[in-house]
Symmetry: C2
Subunit: 253 residues, 2 copies
DNA sequence: GACCAGCTTTCATCCTGTGAAAGTGGGAGT
DNA sequence: ACTCCCACTTTCACAGGATGAAAGCTGGTC
């Protein structure tokens, strides 16, 4: 692994949302010897990617915020999606989320009425949005995910077979759903945004309800909202989906 | 300069808001030989900090967006500031901006009703918000800025003396103003958010108007809004301002 | 007062990043 | 059709920067 790779794994130590970490914790999470972690952390601080707090711990820095906010693919998605999310939240009265693929992770991109903040990671197999994105993943990666289905509630699907059948129906155009498979009391439905893009859908639009019936009732509205987003995403340029990165576990090409 | 430094200057090539750059442009902006730039860019792409587009050019990637969105100091500022900006925009009918220091740059953090997007850089000496932040900068850095005052309109203050006197009144508690000093037809007033923090104010709150009179009339509302933000920022923790980074051109310690 | 954890510094070793130079490929010009 | 040119990519011998074990700090705790 190169120097840069190490530095990135230092940053990735914060990816799960931990607001602040001490040096030792960073070193541990990124599997680096302490002096190495220290050197990297210092360079990151000098740049502004990390900040040192008065108690000696570190947190992600403002420079990272400024740069990250400029990422065109996500910015467009949020800017075009936001008004639609707002309306969908008002018409359904339910928390609304927009989720997308980030490398190999599934993350919340934006939300209205939900407690989940942008950047939160979602379990691929146990959320409706996760299933949508999973359905359109290239075979090899999808199989990777299906190989390790963690039980999160009594209702989580942990058998690859049934889940894969659900994914097939999603690809065929059915809305995705997850009935208390991630958290008890949360029933979600989700549909893809721009499902016919070459790279797969740009995002998944999802609502959460107390009951499955309530969630089902929202499906038409969610589907229409997703179409609206797809529509305003398409015309202004091909730069829709964030390019899938060619990562280590990637496919040929 | 270390490897990391080089990689950061590659990312910084996008800091001015350029949505996409070709390899050659990146190499030029970051003053790196082409093969070096290529190697760094590739590693950044593999991580997700950059993305390669179909035409071969690069843009900031989604991984950067996800990470950056987690930066605690900025997130808190935006989350607590947003409702106040909304209200201020409604009561004044004017575009509202929240700006802060990012390393050595002055950037827009959030806005309502303005065309300036978060991440946009502001000229320190020719905007009201810039003057507020400049006023509270440590002496050495302030002098650095005062030494190079670029003329942007016929009304831009390019003499250090008068500007420095304005900064003194701002430190004394007066609202900052800029009358068409950045762009013709734009008159701004600004006040600090949390001006008594150890590190200087967390941000500057500013409104823009067609006429100076209109801007002046808004001052009390802006000041009250800034107090509201300061108030909700303070209690929940000391993590208010983003730590000023110890950069190359920095002071002792 | 001794111990410990968490952090920082040092330094000899060596591996990784470096960039000049040469190679590739596609598009424009004639 | 041929050539030129530009943007990008690959190669490779070299050098300098990164490495991490070991040894010092510091402040808190028993």
């Amino acid at each position: 692994m190169s120097v840069l790779g190490r530095a990135f794994s230092v940053l990735d130590a914060f990816a799960d949302g931990t607001p602040s970490l001490r040096l030792t914790a960073i070193a541990e999470r990124s599997a680096l010897p302490l002096p190495t972690a220290l050197r990297l952390v210092r360079e990151l601080v000098a740049w502004g990617g990390l900040e040192r707090q008065s108690d000696g711990s570190y947190r992600l820095g403002s420079r990272l915020w400024t740069l990250g906010g400029q990422a065109p693919c996500r910015r467009r998605l949020v800017e075009t999606g936001r008004p639609v999310l707002d309306r969908l939240n008002r018409t359904t009265g339910l928390p609304v989320l927009l989720a997308a693929l980030d490398g190999i992770r599934f993350v919340v991109v934006d939300g209205v009425g939900s407690t989940l903040r942008p950047g939160t990671m979602l379990p691929p197999h146990a959320t409706a949005a996760g299933k949508v994105l999973l359905a359109y993943l290239p075979d090899s990666r999808r199989r990777q995910v299906l190989a390790d289905l963690v039980r999160l509630t009594p209702y989580t699907l942990t058998a690859p077979g049934p889940l894969d059948r659900q994914l097939a129906t999603i690809r065929a155009g059915a809305p995705a759903s997850a009935w208390e498979e991630w958290r008890l009391g949360e029933n979600e439905v989700a549909v893809p945004v721009d499902p016919f893009a070459a790279q797969g859908p740009a995002a998944a639009l999802t609502v959460t309800a107390r009951s499955a019936a309530q969630a089902r009732r929202a499906v038409p509205l969610v589907a229409r909202a997703a179409l609206t987003i797809s529509g305003s995403l398409r015309p202004a340029g091909q730069a829709t989906a964030c390019a899938a990165r060619a990562d280590a576990a990637g496919e040929p090409r």
